[in-house]
Amino acid sequence: MREITLSQAVNEALAEEMRRDPTTFIIGEDVAEAGTPFKVLSGLVEEFGTDRVIDTPIAEPGFMGIAVGAAMTGARPIVDLMFGDFIFLIMDQLCNQAAKTHYMSGGKLNVPLVLRTNLGATRRSAAQHSQSLQALVAHIPGLKVAMPSSAYEAKGLMKTAIRDNNPVVIFEDKLMYQDKAPVPEQEYLIPFGQANIKREGRDITLIATSSMVQVAEKAAEILANEGIEAEVIDPRTIVPLDEQTLLESVRKTSRAIVIDEGHQSYGVTAEIASRLNEKAFYHLDAPVLRMGAMDVPVPFSPALEDLTVPTPEDVAANARKLCAGEMIHAA
């Protein structure tokens, strides 16, 4: 199968869906001729024109609000938010307006829009361009949250998101834009709420999202050399969450580590770990561990920044302890 970059995969997904549905359009800062700073959208304005690839002023709440209004009245906007950190700027439009409109109207109004943005540290971009804020939006009922972990997922999830009748936030890992993966030439969609078992194992389950899927896979390699068989699962969407697949795996392995690049406290890892505790308690032979980014603003200095994100070695070390029956924080 051909291999393309995550960036190309997203570009393909957008182009295919924009050809398919004339009500779709892209709106955001420097999305047209510039094709975004990451060049993900290059070439789209040439095909679809400036009416459907719309450059905006630097006014995130403004163009987010405009997208909500367009979505409510029959369009399918794809909002490009240059950095995930800017979610804080659009919170009212996203969480008070887009997320609640369908419910507040008793099901009569829909807001079918996609907010594509990114996450991920270790790009030396410091505290305001490095955050992974998926937990913030996953907390709000009415929003769906997709977290592709490779070019394959990026394309299939984007196409599903554009066809969904709800506001969907997609977080792409900005360090992965140039990573290649096999992507079929023929059309495919990845349904939401369907986890992907990336690697099977019987000793411990590593549940990882987006950027952390690679980390978990590398950890599984390390562990395999020591005779520990780790199962790696990528939920692909955290809202909706494929609880069933996660629970089945944990019932089999009786141990789990949940890994996500958001801050560890009050995060995605906590939510998933909690559900495993609630629904697989009597199958657990060890506490479910969370591994997230350190609870610090992302530092600039490479010497510091690299400390803040879980590494394959960290994950393997924790997995080893759990499998050895060491309670990591035993009293």
Binding site: Y282, H283, L284, A286, G325
Partner: protein, 432 residues
Amino acid sequence: MPHDVTMPQLGMAQDAGKIVSWLKKPGDAVSKGDALFEVETDKATMEVEAQADGFLTGVRAEAGEDVPVGQIIARITDSADEPADEPEPKSDATPGASATAALPKGREVTMPQLGMAQDSGLLVNWQKAPGDQVAEDDVLFEVETDKSTMEVPAGAAGYLAATLAEAGETVPVGSAVAIISADRPENPVSRSFQNGPDETPKVTAPKKAEAEKSSQPVTSNARSSAQPRQGGRILASPKARRLAAERGLDLARLVDAGHPQPYHAADLDRLASLPSPAASGPAVAAQRLTAELDEEGLTEFVSWARNPQGLADPDAILAGLAGACLPVSGTKVVAIQRLGVQRSYSVPAGPDLSQVVRSDDRPALLLRDLRDSRLRHVEMGAAEIPVLTMMAAGRGLSITLECSSAQLEAGDAINLLTEFAGRLEQPLRHLL
């Protein structure tokens, strides 16, 4: 068609309003828009307008009265003499209404609503005492909400005739917390909000906290072998526990075998390979001792203790007698089991049986009272704690002690039973 006049709702968390004055008399002709009465809420005073033309009839709330919002207080009817059919009886069943009956007359000061969605306020302290004379602007009490602390003025001159909540209590907004009377009150009232309707003075009985403080668990000087595991809890994973239960295995045997905690599923194989409990060594040998008394002095002692001594709980006496025999100093906890009911008592050192009080702590000794049963012989094996069983034997008693050697050494077991049997024969010995 008669038009109901109701107490208006003016805020989100407002339950009642006070009618300050009626601006129209029953029978008066009114037009839509006429001011009918003045109402005061915790937020403001306003005039309530007639919503229809007609005659004011069926007034059923007087000036000065607090009326729940939405309650009908009058009607506007087509003629002045139209008998206003009673829509509902005047509500006097509001919470606390019965309590006000015994309170001094006067103006109620209520817990103010300070925020839009505030249900209650914390009464921080009283700035006036019951019986004090107060001026309208005097600060009566301080109240704290999630937003702020504020001083609440008396609102009327007079005397603080009653305080209906204590400092530290949280009171729903709109609830009365004080009464200001025009005249000096003869018997100013002070009570807590929680005990509202209950007029009896607060009894300053020995506080439970003190009793608890004095009843330390038996462990202090007791040998550790009497408490094989901390709090009786074994550290094990949920999966290990579930599998152990399914396979009928007792994780305690891993403890007894000296295997370090916590236990995981893998440890169950080791547990399964341990020798069976029956074959276990002398370390956990069961002990069973029996004493026989031809006559017992307990019954007479219990009735003497009740009157004239005033010790009404015979179980407390039993617990006191048994606890004194444990080879441990300090306070002990003894459980008494009778007719399927078990109660624990803490027994301090010393002979004073009036100091034996109920306790929620884990007992160090269980005393089964089977005197009223037909059982004459028990052999139950060692339990988690030593067990004394009392049974009737003619005019006397038979007493059995069962325990493991890990709980009580042989000498201690013999002493315990000897001491206890002696006390049941001659309870006065206990006091000496």
